[in-house]
């Protein structure tokens, strides 16, 4: 009897490479379609076992809910699978290079997550007796110290919840300082290249925004600035300037800008979104900055979490420090003291108010401090240097093919290209970005800053290895050459390989569908029933 040699075949089958079966489920192996939880959960199902309720008495008055809430529930394994499947449709810094200029997608160390989950930080209430949380005050004070030393300032308002909230806080301090001096200036100067949050913040506080043009190299034009200040003499509340700016360039004239604004009676607000380029290299306090928010989720790596939570402490100059909002920690011989109300302030403390209930983003403070301690003064400096080195390495790898709007010169932590290299190719910046998705990359920041046409802002951060940068540069070169060869199909329909093809955003805005509703039961007509 001969041996049966027909075991499990281990070589590929004979179907051609191009054959893609149309599957029954719509799934493609690991790439699965997932319904909304309301489409398969039920009102009776729950994935949480609670203690049995015995003999509840009601003291609700006449307020008991009568109607169904309509919330579908999932059993635990269903919930686990649902959200694991959803997660697989997301790009993440843990899965690949995420070169979003100005957003700073860098490695998120898990030590920070572990530290933030220590019960002594995660399971303490903001209003339990202060005497029961001395370690919390110590942590906030320690982080404040690291932030002040690295920025060269002497005060910091910790409570703002995100970068834009920090901007609001800084501008409120500026407004309070003017009011205290008996002034009411109305004009805030904002360069064209600013984040949208800057003009929105100024407008929210009733300021009038006057835009400052950039000069040819992308930085603020001192002559224009002087003229604008002269035009609005005695009415300048301040300037909101991002430095390094959103073109990836350090404002060389920053000290002169600060002097001009100060001489005009205004304050210098610095948008700290790009502070990660200069930590350990220069201190905003030495540049004449009066207020600057620090995006802990950018520079100090607290995770972006799909769009938050952020955290935006604001460092303040001596002139603005008295107006810092409640709450704050006062340091005295007696130790650390939490000041939560106006009644507890001293004469030289004149808080302009309160940004939020409680004390700010404690969970983010722990992560940021863990990050800063891990790096130390030497590591923080090295991280900035590596971020700038990586960005310039990409610049020289691409500058012969892609167009640098401000000519060949070193950039900071991000490099800005415009779309002139795509001229006459039939490929737009958006198409180009979508083709990067098929190559396994998250696109760079596009169409921002507004000062250049078809902007592409690339920020690799210090987290990328040289091999990773080399592959990215090679991929970008291949895409550019492909576009220039006229292979428009690779771009116009991209992405082809992502969980979704290009989505109809215009349609979404025209008739907004913002929540799930039960589908109408299908009308059964006699013909259809047959």
């Amino acid at each position: 009897m001969s041996m049966n040699t027909q075991g499990r075949p281990t070589a590929p089958g004979e179907a051609g490479e191009s054959f893609r079966p149309k599957t029954f489920t719509g799934n493609r192996a690991l790439d699965m379609e997932e319904p909304l939880l309301f489409e398969f959960g039920s009102l009776e199902t729950t994935g949480v076992d609670l203690d049995e309720e015995d003999g509840i008495e009601f003291e609700l008055g006449a307020f008991e809910r009568k109607a169904d809430i309509g919330l579908a529930g999932l059993a635990e394994p269903e919930a686990m699978r649902h959200y694991v499947r959803l997660s697989r449709n997301n790009y993440a810094i843990d899965s690949g290079l995420y070169p979003l200029g100005s957003c700073t997608m860098k490695h998120n160390p898990r030590l920070n997550e572990k530290m933030a989950r220590l019960p002594g930080f995660s399971d303490i209430h903001p209003l339990q007796p202060v005497s029961s949380v001395p370690g919390a005050l110590e942590l906030i004070d320690e982080l404040a110290h690291w932030l002040m030393v690295s920025t060269g300032t002497h005060a910091v308002a910790m409570s703002p919840k995100a970068g834009a909230h920090g901007e609001l806080c800084g501008m409120m301090a500026i407004k309070a300082a003017h009011t205290a001096a008996g002034r009411d200036p109305k004009i805030v100067l904002v360069p064209e290249s600013a984040h949208g949050t800057n003009p929105a913040t100024a407008a929210l506080l009733g300021f009038k925004v006057v835009s400052i043009d950039a000069k040819e190299d992308g930085t603020v034009d001192l002559a224009t600035l002087k003229n604008t200040i002269a035009e609005h003499a005695d009415n300048i509340a301040g300037i909101m300037l991002t430095n390094p700016n959103t073109c990836g360039l350090f404002e060389r004239d920053v000290k002169e800008i600060a002097d001009l604004i100060h001489d005009a009676g205004g304050f210098f607000y610095c948008d700290g979104a790009n502070f990660n380029a200069i930590v350990g290299k220069a201190r905003p306090g030495d540049l004449g900055v009066d207020a600057m928010h620090i995006n802990l989720h950018k520079t100090f790596s607290t995770p972006h979490g799909g769009g938050g939570p952020g955290s935006g402490p604001v460092v303040l100059s001596d002139r603005l420090a008295p107006y810092a909002p409640l709450p704050f920690i006062r340091k005295s011989d007696a130790g650390l003291e939490l000041v939560e109300t106006n009644a507890a302030t001293s004469d030289d403390e004149q808080p302009f108010g309160r940004m939020t209930a409680f004390h700010g983003q404690m969970g983010m403070y722990v992560r940021a401090l863990s990050y800063m301690m891990s790096h130390g003064s030497d590591g923080l400096k090295q991280a900035s240097e590596d971020a700038v080195l990586n960005a310039n390495y990409i610049r020289v790898g691409l500058q012969d093919l892609m167009s640098l709007p401000f000519g060949v010169r070193p950039c900071m932590h991000e490099v800005l290209f415009d779309d002139s290299f795509l001229k006459d190719s039939g490929v737009t910046t958006l198409d180009f970005a979508k083709a990067m998705i098929d190559e396994g990359y998250h696109p760079m920041t596009m169409y921002f800053p507004l000062v250049v046409h078809g902007a592409m802002l690339i920020e690799p951060t210090e987290s990328e290895s040289r091999a990773s940068l080399d592959l990215f540069v090679a991929t970008m070169r291949d895409l550019v050459m492909s576009a220039q060869r006229g292979e428009t199909e690779r771009f116009s329909g991209a992405p082809y390989l992502a969980p979704r093809r290009r989505l109809d955003e215009t349609g979404a805005a025209r008739k907004p569908v913002l929540k799930w509703t039960e589908p109408e039961p299908a009308q059964v007509t006699p013909e259809a029933a047959e």
């Binding site: 909304l36 939880l37 309720e53 509840i56 609700l60 307020f63 809430i69 309509g70 919330l71 579908a72 529930g73 999932l74 919930a79 694991v84 959803l86 449709n89 790009y91 998120n108 002594g120 303490i124 209430h125 903001p126 209003l127 339990q128 007796p129 949380v133 690295s150 929105a200 100024a202 404002e251 290299k281 972006h304 799909g306 769009g307 939570p309 939560e340 009644a343 939020t356 969970g363 301690m373 891990s374 003064s377 590591g379 590596d386 990586n390 310039n392 070193p410 998705i437 921002f448 992405p495 992502a498 979704r500 093809r501 989505l503 955003e505 979404a508 805005a509 913002l514 929540k515 799930w516």
Partner: protein
């Protein structure tokens, strides 16, 4: 440094490729007189072990809520969060993703935002909800600004039952932007006359239910009066679990509903990060602040989700935007969505009943303590005690006896001496019979 992949050889080679001699050549734009030469005056790098040691030492100095009988609420609540929630939100693909500006590769985030918006709309019985705000207090500030845009008026009337720190957030914003605020005096029992404050100049009335003091408030007459004067009712809540058991603001006539979502999915975290819930009527959607996720189709006709109506937002509209807000509470709202999906209607209702039941048990025990009066007739899981002594002192003495008993109102309202003896007490599903008995016994002792 363990987080930096470049070796010194890499750095040298890369500088050569860039064509500069040293790293400092790349920083040449920084004026020389402000360039740092040495290191910042901070400690040098630390190993994982060193960091853990130092931070754990700080953490251990704090009394965690789970380690004692715990009854502090007042805007943040100690609930049990299923282990699944924290596991799922730490998936790399959720944790380390950015705002979903590239929808083709962020459907995970977008779909849960759509689920979140649906959950919030249903809980509040409103037409639409956004993809979250920073927290309940900043959301309340945004709601007032939104009401001003809708009504083209600028006077807000704030109930005396509104959380004092929420009130301060609204007052701060309004003072700065020149809007008017009428803040009613503290109202522990829900007996204030807010109706007489509403007139033709009123943009909005802001009422919290359950109030800061725990009192449930009938919103219907307030909505009616507000609407007679073409003003909006902004209904606020700080304990979202209450919506599992009480009449939602949407069916009581609220125009904007805003509240704190921390209770579902999120820990106490000493006050943040939390997640602000924000819902409104369909007709006001274009005046809404914050991010919105909407349904659409892709080029092959498959359903997908995108951020939408972004023409309201700062990155498009700049100084004409509805808000300067740029982020939401992404990961916290994921935690909320998962926890709420696990609960479902059945679980949420039961959770709410247990919370209320525990509060009623606690109420009975505490009102039996000589000298203690409970001020609220209708409440959910929180109520206010009037004590025969200064509440702040009582709380400290109870803390010494190992019970974290609640919030003395004077901590937030130090200037109002009438409130000095008031203590706001919360009881959730985490409290046991033993916890309640320990509280009552200790209170009896302290007041004796």
């Amino acid at each position: 440094m363990r987080y930096l992949p470049l070796s010194n050889t890499d750095r040298g080679d890369m500088l050569a490729r860039i064509g500069v001699n040293s790293i400092d050549d790349l920083f040449a734009d920084i004026p020389e007189n402000v360039r740092l030469e040495g290191l910042l005056d901070l400690p040098k790098r630390a190993s994982e072990m060193q960091v853990e040691r130092k931070l754990s030492a700080m953490a251990e100095k704090n009394t965690s809520a789970g380690s004692v009988p715990f009854f502090v609420g007042a805007g943040a609540y100690k609930h049990h969060v299923p282990a699944t929630v924290d596991h799922l939100i730490q998936r790399s693909e959720f944790l380390t993703s950015y705002t979903p500006y590239q929808p083709e590769i962020t459907q995970g985030t977008l779909q849960y935002l759509f689920e979140f918006q649906t959950q919030v709309a249903r809980l509040t019985a409103m037409d639409v909800a956004n993809a979250s705000m920073y927290d309940g207090s900043t959301g309340t500030g945004e709601a007032v600004l939104m009401a001003h845009r809708v009504t083209k008026r600028n006077k807000a009337v704030l109930s005396g039952g509104l959380h004092p720190q929420y009130r301060e957030v609204v007052e701060g914003l309004s003072n700065m932007s020149g809007d008017r605020v009428v803040s009613l005096p503290a109202d522990p029992m829900g007996t204030e006359d807010i109706l007489s404050q509403i007139d033709d100049e009123t943009s909005c009335v802001v009422v919290q239910s359950p109030s800061f003091y725990g009192q449930l408030i009938d919103l219907k007459p307030i909505a009616e009066k507000a609407h007679q004067h073409k003003a909006l009712l902004i209904a606020v809540f700080t304990e979202v679990v209450s919506l599992g058991l009480i009449e939602p603001p949407g069916t009581q006539g609220a125009d904007i509903v805003v509240g704190e979502g921390q209770s579902i999915g999120n820990g106490l975290n000493f006050g943040g990060p939390y997640v602000g819930l924000f819902a409104t009527r369909q007709k006001y959607v274009r005046q809404m602040p914050g991010r919105l996720c909407g349904e659409t189709v892709d080029a092959e006709g498959k359903r997908g989700f995108v951020l939408t109506l972004s023409t309201r937002e700062q990155h498009i509209r700049r100084d004409k935007a509805t808000s300067n807000i740029c982020t939401n509470s992404g990961l916290c709202c994921l935690a909320f969505t998962i926890h709420m999906a696990l609960l479902g209607q059945a679980g949420l209702t039961k959770l709410a009943r247990i919370n209320h039941g525990n509060a009623v048990r606690l109420r009975k025990l505490l009102s039996a303590v000589p000298g203690v009066e409970v001020l609220n007739a209708a409440y959910f899981n929180e109520f206010t005690l009037s004590l025969p002594k200064v509440a702040e002192d009582v709380v400290e003495q109870l803390a010494e006896r190992g019970v974290l008993a609640g919030l003395p109102v004077s901590r937030l309202e130090p200037e109002n001496k009438d409130l000095a003896n008031l203590l706001v007490v919360a009881s959730t599903e985490v409290n046991t019979d033993e916890d309640r008995a320990a509280f009552a016994a200790a209170l009896k002792e302290v007041l004796a």
